[in-house]
Symmetry: C2
Subunit: 342 residues, 2 copies
DNA sequence: AGCGCTTTCGTAAGCGCTTTCGGCTACTGT
DNA sequence: ACAGTAGCCGAAAGCGCTTACGAAAGCGCT
């Protein structure tokens, strides 16, 4: 007789069905070697009794892992929240539970979180968010991850490519070239660039795209006002203040993500600078709110949720011997924050 | 000697330290009965070797659970993303891993997710997001949850109070009264209200606060234009169109969350309606972007991340016999989207 | 009937950890 | 000097499950 436990155990089901727990286990995990008649009986009973397998026991015993880990810089950030949404979506479909960790952009924390995930025996790990330019910051995680893979773990990253694993890559460089070209085509020549920490590979990649466009247009890249600040709205505000104070001649500000662009828009409005009348502003990412700002933001759309989905699917399906790279498309979204210079 | 495993086991640490696994376990879990000298040595070694306990083994062996489950409507939504951020924050501090599920506002899915969480033996469950007015939609989850609690699980909810468990409650009604009063004080009398589904308790609570303020001002509540749409930016747009078309006389729109307000702002701008010149708009929640919109949004600030923290802390600390309710403070944030009617 | 095969099922060995229990050592008090 | 006691530590018993492995039973064949 089943005790008054919170949940019935496999043994309770087995006893009720009059079979051994081995048979019960096989019936439920649909392994062959059980007559369909017995298996059916066990499954019925299990459903009736509300049996749900104990994941810990199952995982310990070496069964397939039913969970995945997602590592993001900061879940409160819409960029990552949308990626998470994509990952959760396919997780649900595949019957996987998702464990989310955030690192606060701290490589140290990232390593700790990775270790925890691995120790928790998740079946797959998705790492989202920019890596760091300095390769020294990556070495340890890399080894850790490869050991994990050798042990059968699946790994995919989103937005970085220094880890030697499957990657979904947003078109950072191409997108940046596109948005810079858009500004150039409108006739802007005095363009300021607002960037996050250049230690982030995302920033490096986007910057490269911007320079490429500028050079193609014959601009002196060294003369471009470049302001580095935090990759946030607050950083955008700080950058805007600095640009306005030290380079009043600029006719456009190219921000390397939407968050900064939103902060810039806010400062411009507060200072009475018309957008796009006096200054054009562009962002990057196309977070959900970008289209509903006033003025709505010209930016580069990255399919965040889709990238989350792709990454998990990529990790789950039979992994190739060598790391694959899947490039996510970008789309230049021209809205109301850009116009020809006055 | 440690094998080439993905992660060292407790046994590996114990061997390295020259003690039994029992002693190693005690040292790491800070149980008494080990000399400080030995314990220190074990802990050092563990850190050096990058040892992280296997949660499955620990949980199976009856140790305290080191994981919590978080159920939200939609993680891509900034409101929930910020709550999640708070939960992850204290989770990190307490050394807990966080499993996130999203329900898409579907009570059915919610129940499934709850069951999964319980089967996964998480130590605590946090449910964020509005409940449903219809009590029939709650019954099953309620029983499920109570059984879980009897088995030692901790539960706390954010923003609902129909489940008979600890709750962190945003000041929906009071906040709504405050923002409505603000509009009234400015002199508005023809105010439209844009709401999400009235099946959501959050909507019901906020509506109640609005009516209270309106009645106090002597308004005929039944005559107020009320538009129900989705609780999203798209819903806000739809609501705005409808209000503009059918009630051109309104001088203010009171939206029951920021998302809708942002959509409304967007439509108003597109239609060339000046805010706050011709129409004032208010939101609710104060999502991060609200202050950087143009015009910046007058709204009611709810401490989302803080509520996430509180809920988890509440669940973790010794639970009282009867469910407690902690009210989170609200703050009326007056910005540029409201002004006296023309 | 006896042989080898396949199919079906039970026995038992763990997975890595926590915790009880008992043994050992080093004290204390008389 | 010796029992009594307290402090440390190791051996071992599981937690609930999966999965070799082996036994039993049924089959067709010679």
């Amino acid at each position: 007789m089943a005790q008054d436990r919170p949940t019935p155990r496999l043994q309770d089901v087995a006893e009720a069905a009059g079979v051994s727990i081995a048979t019960a286990s096989r019936s439920l995990s649909r392994t062959s070697g059980v007559s369909e008649e017995v298996a059916e009986r066990v499954r019925d009973l299990a459903r009736q009794m509300g049996y749900v397998a104990n994941v810990h026991a199952r995982s310990l015993a070496g069964g397939p892992s039913r969970s995945v880990g997602l590592v993001v810089h900061e879940i409160g950030d819409p960029y990552f929240a949308e990626i998470a949404s994509g990952v959760l979506g396919v997780g649900d479909l595949e019957g996987l539970t998702v464990q989310i960790c955030h690192t606060g952009r701290d490589p140290e924390r990232e390593l700790t979180q990775l270790r925890t995930l691995i120790a928790n025996r998740v079946g797959a790990i998705i790492i989202a968010g920019s890596g760091f330019v300095d390769p020294a910051m990556q070495t340890t995680a890399r080894e850790e991850l490869h050991a994990y893979q050798r042990a059968g773990g699946r790994v995919a990253v989103i937005g970085r490519h220094h880890l030697g694993v499957d990657a979904v890559l947003p078109s950072n460089t191409e997108g940046a070239t596109a948005v810079a070209t858009h500004l150039l085509d409108l006739g802007h020549r005095r363009i300021a660039v607002a960037t996050g920490s250049r230690q982030l590979t995302t920033v490096a990649d986007r910057l490269e795209g911007v320079w490429a466009a500028f050079r193609a247009a014959g601009l002196d890249v060294d003369g471009v006002p470049l302001v580095e600040a935090e990759f946030t709205r607050a950083g955008g505000k700080a950058a805007a203040e600095e640009i306005l104070d030290t380079h009043p001649e600029v006719t456009a500000v190219l921000a390397l993500n939407d968050d900064m662009a939103i902060g810039i828009l806010s400062v411009l409005r507060a200072r009475g600078v018309a957008v796009p009348g006096q200054v054009s502003v562009t962002g990057f990412d196309d977070v959900a709110v970008a289209g509903d700002l006033s003025p709505s933001l010209t930016t580069v759309r990255l399919p965040m949720a889709h990238m989350g989905e792709q990454a998990l699917l990529m990790a789950l399906k039979e992994p190739s011997a060598r790391p694959r790279r899947r490039h996510a498309p970008y789309e230049l979204v021209v809205r109301d924050s850009t116009a020809a210079p006055a």
